[in-house]
């Protein structure tokens, strides 16, 4: 099927109409992270330099270097074991790197910086005796910048019954609850580690919509790690591809699309 067909009657063909994938330049590493309207004086939301973390004989992070500008929605992509979760745990201050430097919002990660970070842990569950309402009360007490009205709005919109106990929820409902707890916060950095893992398509769509409702506008930097890209990848305006604890490639999403196609296609090319 020819690509132009997809642009449909509403779309104009781009460029000279000879849109062949083969004409793209080869993928390259170390693409510039900055784009034109990037204020230079703001510190990056996340800065890692030579991060290394070893678990026994396995290197989870192997000299990872990364800089994420503020206000971006960043897809942290890569296969299982690429180091995504370890990176997030380091950023959330749960894990101390063996070597290297790391800064979140200009500070060393730790419990103090967690005031400014909303972190959705990998494979997390919620406290099962909590109802949605209880969870919101918990968040009000413990999670700084949590906005109850916004959480209630999101819950209504994502069709989450406020009196439902986490223990009685489906995985999808629980995932929605945990996402709300993170995105209903007014914080400069949101870290979502695999928010879509093991979730039905309906919940995935709801979560995507919930995310769109909260992201953008340059206030909050969102890092989302995922290996399920369908639907979600349109949310990213920046992508980082990891492999074996290192950054394989990164850059603005549209730039990457122009060079290598969709994130999914790039994944397939990178990790064969």
């Amino acid at each position: 099927m020819d690509r132009q067909v997809h642009h449909g009657p509403a779309g104009w063909s781009q460029g000279d109409g000879a849109q062949v994938t083969a004409g793209r330049p080869p993928l390259s590493a170390g693409m510039s992270a900055r784009t034109e309207n990037e204020p230079a004086n703001r510190p990056p939301a996340v800065r890692c330099e030579g991060l290394t973390k070893q678990y026994g004989s396995k290197r989870a992070l192997d000299g990872l270097t990364l800089e994420v500008p503020q206000g971006r929605v960043v897809g942290v992509l890569g296969p299982n074991g690429a180091g995504k979760s370890t990176l997030f745990r380091v950023l959330a201050g749960l894990v101390q790197p063996d070597a290297g430097r790391v800064e979140v919002a200009g500070q060393l990660p730790g419990w103090r910086t967690n005031r400014q970070i909303a972190y959705l842990p990998d494979r997390a569950r919620w406290y099962r005796e909590h109802t949605v309402r209880d969870a919101f009360r918990y968040a009000e007490q413990f999670l700084l910048g949590f906005q109850p009205e916004q959480a209630l709005e999101l819950a209504a919109w994502m069709q989450l019954d406020l009196d439902l106990r986490a223990g009685d929820m489906s995985r999808g409902q629980e995932a929605r609850l945990m996402l709300i707890l993170c995105i209903a916060r007014r914080v400069p950095v949101i870290l979502l580690d695999e928010p879509f893992a093991g979730i039905d398509a309906v919940s995935r769509a709801r979560i995507t919509e919930g995310l769109v409702a909260r992201i953008g506008g340059g206030e909050t930097t969102v890092l989302v790690s995922t290996h399920e890209l369908a639907e979600v990848e349109a949310l990213f305006d920046h992508a980082v591809f990891l492999n074996a604890g290192r950054v394989l490639m990164q850059g603005p999403a549209d730039e990457l699309r122009r060079r290598g196609g969709s994130m999914q296609e790039i994944m397939q090319q990178l990790y064969v």
């Binding site: 967690n114 413990f142 700084l144």
Partner: protein, 260 residues
Amino acid sequence: MEESWLEEGHVRPVPLRALVRQDFRLSCRRPRLNQGWWMLYVIGVAVLAVGFATYFGRRGDFDPRPVWFATLGFVFAGFGFGIGVVTNEWKNSTVGWWLSLPVPRWRLAASKWMSALLRGWLLLLVVCVALALLGLYALALGGRLNPAEAARYLGFGAAVGGLVAAVLPGAAAFGVFYGAIAKSRWRPAIPLIWLAVSGSWWLVAVHHGSPQAGAPAAGGPDGFGPLWTASTWQAVLASWLVGFGLVGAAAHVLDRRLQL
């Protein structure tokens, strides 16, 4: 528009009280039995206890005071509660939420310790009240319910129960520390901890006479020696100090020694 959420004014500390309430709720989670089974167990235990009390009460010639030694089990329960309230975060996959709370680690550890302790004390109180009622009931059945007998029975209960309550802080702290170690890179050191514990127990026993065996065996006019001697006070005080240190050590483990 550019109202900053980074300013210190926005940052209010998380109160320890709220943390303890959350942890307490977590630690008191009942096993997932349905309401009917739960009632059945409660009624079963109550019937059994009243049955025993009735049997011994009617025999009439016994000393009910040793039943108070049942509360010694709470020392171990306190240890268990301490372990459980920490390791439950892992078991329930909530550990990521817990550890990313914007709270100093010592406060996380102290809250776990307090909730385990609170749970131990509450259950101890319930059991002590039940034992008091049962004992008095048994005395009444044997026709010996006079102020002197009742005071002797309850006084002994207060001494034993008070000792257990006084030792619980240390036991719960040891549990919290043990739970944290079990989830840390120091996990292989656990046998070492047991060696140290049994070693120091042995040392104490050699120097002061075993507090465990001493109490029921040593003869006094009543058959029981006084429980609260100077060395008891010393031991309790020492257990508090050690417990304090263990909670601090648990905080350190949570901060940088976890296996995540």
